[in-house]
Symmetry: C2
Subunit: 416 residues, 2 copies
């Protein structure tokens, strides 16, 4: 009797609107290819080490469930932030993982995540090669931040950009309706500690019937508060409603984050990263007292990565595609690789899945190139917008039940 070929898949890192579409892609393709079982690690490798996993056939019963999964935000399987040690530091943890994989008769291990997840793929495939294990290890990219190198863009970015573009349009409209003989400055704060891709996406709001934001500040350039104030004053001579988009990570030339200027207590998260919240609130307070007009701040916060009700069809489809492509590659014998998205053509937009050796993926962040910002570094260029626009096209209508979008969620009673 031939050995059973099973697959295990996990999700890791910060969630996106479409990380579950990649999961759906993995599941569907694995079923098509005749894999026996598709297991899902609960909370990634961390959960796997606790023997937390599900047989996905107990969760996904039919094609409607696949459609719901594509429209469900956050990690269906649960996520983790867990970095494997170097192999020579702690072989035991690797032994434990492979013991579980062998016990579950795993043929292929697919991990959907960002840079840290690709590091996991690299270490596991290295360990497998060194110790002569049969498993193949493939990575599927995701991150709203779009800061992964080698791939044209990351699944999750397009949907976040679409939500940001749509919400920016609505906020601009709201402000225009309110201002009459009473100027107002609106500051929108967008995620992105070092990379300004999402903040730049506010420029998408500039459409036939909307002027878009007036100023856009990315973290790639130093922020000059004095120069910005001067610009705002000049703008207020021409119009009553000013909308400024800022990245949470904008900082002065001396390196201080703008959100630190308020003098509030620093909140450092478990990874030692300073929490960057309050940039827009700080600037709103600053302009209110400096310029003396009405101001308000809006933080897109968690919703920019979880608003699947405004996800992009291109993004959902590509997320599904890269999930399926990982299974295909594993099935064809690849290991230690990450699936990437290649842009085949700009207009008409076409993309396909490519593949890269995870060893070639340095831990570098892909930032917005300087030439995609204007000279003053207070807006993005047409090239930036042309790059993002294809990624926000089309929709998957939410499946509405009783007036709200329905999600597919883990049925913990059927975990095994």
């Amino acid at each position: 009797m031939a050995k059973k070929r099973n697959i295990i898949v996990g999700q890791s890192g910060g969630p996106t609107s479409v990380i579950n579409s990649s999961l759906a892609g993995v599941y569907s393709n694995a079923m098509e290819r005749g894999f026996h079982k598709v297991y899902g690690m609960l909370h990634g490798v961390q959960g796997l080490l606790d023997e937390q996993y599900v047989d996905l056939s107990t969760q996904i019963h039919n094609e409607l469930d696949i459609e719901l999964l594509k429209r469900t935000p956050s990690a269906f399987l649960g996520s983790c932030r867990f970095k494997l040690p170097e192999i020579h530091e702690d072989r035991e943890i690797f032994e434990k993982i492979f013991e579980i994989l062998n016990r579950l008769e795993i043929d292929s291990f697919i991990y959907i995540g960002g840079n840290d997840s690709m590091d996991t793929i690299k270490k596991l495939s290295d360990y497998g090669t060194i110790t002569g294990q049969p498993q193949k290890f493939l990575g599927v990219p995701k991150t709203i931040d779009n800061d992964l190198a080698l791939t044209d863009h990351t699944p999750g970015f397009g949907s976040a950009a679409k939500y940001i573009g749509a919400s920016t349009k609505e906020i601009i409209r709201d402000a225009l309706g309110l201002t009459y003989h009473k100027p107002m400055i609106t500051i929108i704060e967008v995620m992105g500690r070092n990379a300004g891709w999402l903040t730049g996406a506010t420029a998408l709001a500039k459409t036939e019937e909307c002027e878009g934001p007036d100023l856009i500040y990315l973290p790639e350039a130093d922020f000059d508060l004095e120069k910005c104030t001067k610009k705002v004053r000049a703008l207020l001579k021409k119009k009553e409603s000013i909308v400024i988009a800022v990245s949470e990570g904008i900082h002065l030339a001396d390196g201080r984050y703008v959100c630190e200027l308020s003098g509030g207590a620093d909140y450092v998260d478990a990874f030692g990263h300073k929490q960057l919240q309050g940039t827009a609130a700080y600037l709103a307070g600053y302009f209110a007292s400096e310029i003396g007009c009405k101001t308000r701040s809006v933080e897109f916060s968690t919703l920019q990565r979880s608003a699947s009700h405004m996800a992009s069809r291109v993004d959902i489809d590509e997320a599904f595609m890269v999930g399926g492509a990982a299974v295909k590659s594993a099935d064809e014998g690849d290991t230690g690789k990450m699936i990437v998205i290649d842009r085949v053509s700009d207009d008409p937009y076409m993309s396909s899945a490519g593949i890269y050796d995870v060893h070639r993926i340095a831990n570098e962040e892909k930032l917005v190139p300087r030439e995609w910002m204007n000279r003053e570094a207070d807006y993005v260029t047409k090239d930036f917008v042309d790059y993002v626009k294809p990624l926000i096209q089309g929709d998957y209508q939410p499946i509405m039940v009783n007036g709200l979008p329905r999600h597919l969620v883990l049925d913990t009673k059927r975990k095994r």
Copy 2:
């Protein structure tokens, strides 16, 4: 030759997702009834006094424009916050308004707004009656806050509630995906200074596949920080992700707003109202230091009143209905009245337009009744949810252009 019968319509106060659907209702019904022209005041009565108005036929060209208008957030005509003086205080301002109305051959004056707007309708109709003017004055209600008396609910509330319900579900999902051996408290801040209707709407997230928020605090009851902390500690023993919804207006028994506890500078707006922002951020900081776990805060901010991409069909249709009903009533000779929504039946849900004398509308706020909160006043009851649920049903799909919802906006080149 018969005198021309023209209508003028204005929008006032804080915008909603569906205030333009009422405008569309006014326009469509007026056209049906053979009114000659429909003028729109730009920025309400304040703009009218500056002779700022448009002939709406220069803006709405066809039925597609009506559909776009129904899906456009914020006040298409621009809003204002302008309170007319008492008649005996300043007759001049009334004379000026009626001079303009008579010059434009206005038969009916429709004002879409909240309590202040109904005050405008009352004063103008009183002045008209006193001085024997021919115009009729009708009010159309709107406010996301749902705090107007006499009407079962207000247009705008249902869509805000739907957005809040959908976003709360997405935030809860996001948090569940992230927590594993690392508890997290999420605090969601919702609009509503005195009325908790919108905050209560987070309970809509409690659905077949979602537990909903764990605690909900409305401004109608005093907030007890110690008791809340105790509840949170108890919850953390049972689950890892706690989601708490709070109104921006929650306050301690001694009257202090929770957002004031941070000791930051008060920001008082043009109407002398303290700006109530930062309640969730304060509580997130408090729980982080008091309980020592990860916390995060989310403010729905402006989007809860401007996210037309998640508007409710029932709400858009009712907003359209009350706009049309105002024209019908004016056409039939009514004046000094406000259109209201009567709930004809709960299940199946049915509503119709009613009418009230604006003199009967006191400046009282309709608050969430105590019996629609649980005993501890940290959740809403089934009666509350049963009341709100019909109002969030159905959708108008946004009309997407290039990946983003299209809006109808004022063409200022065609103002006359």
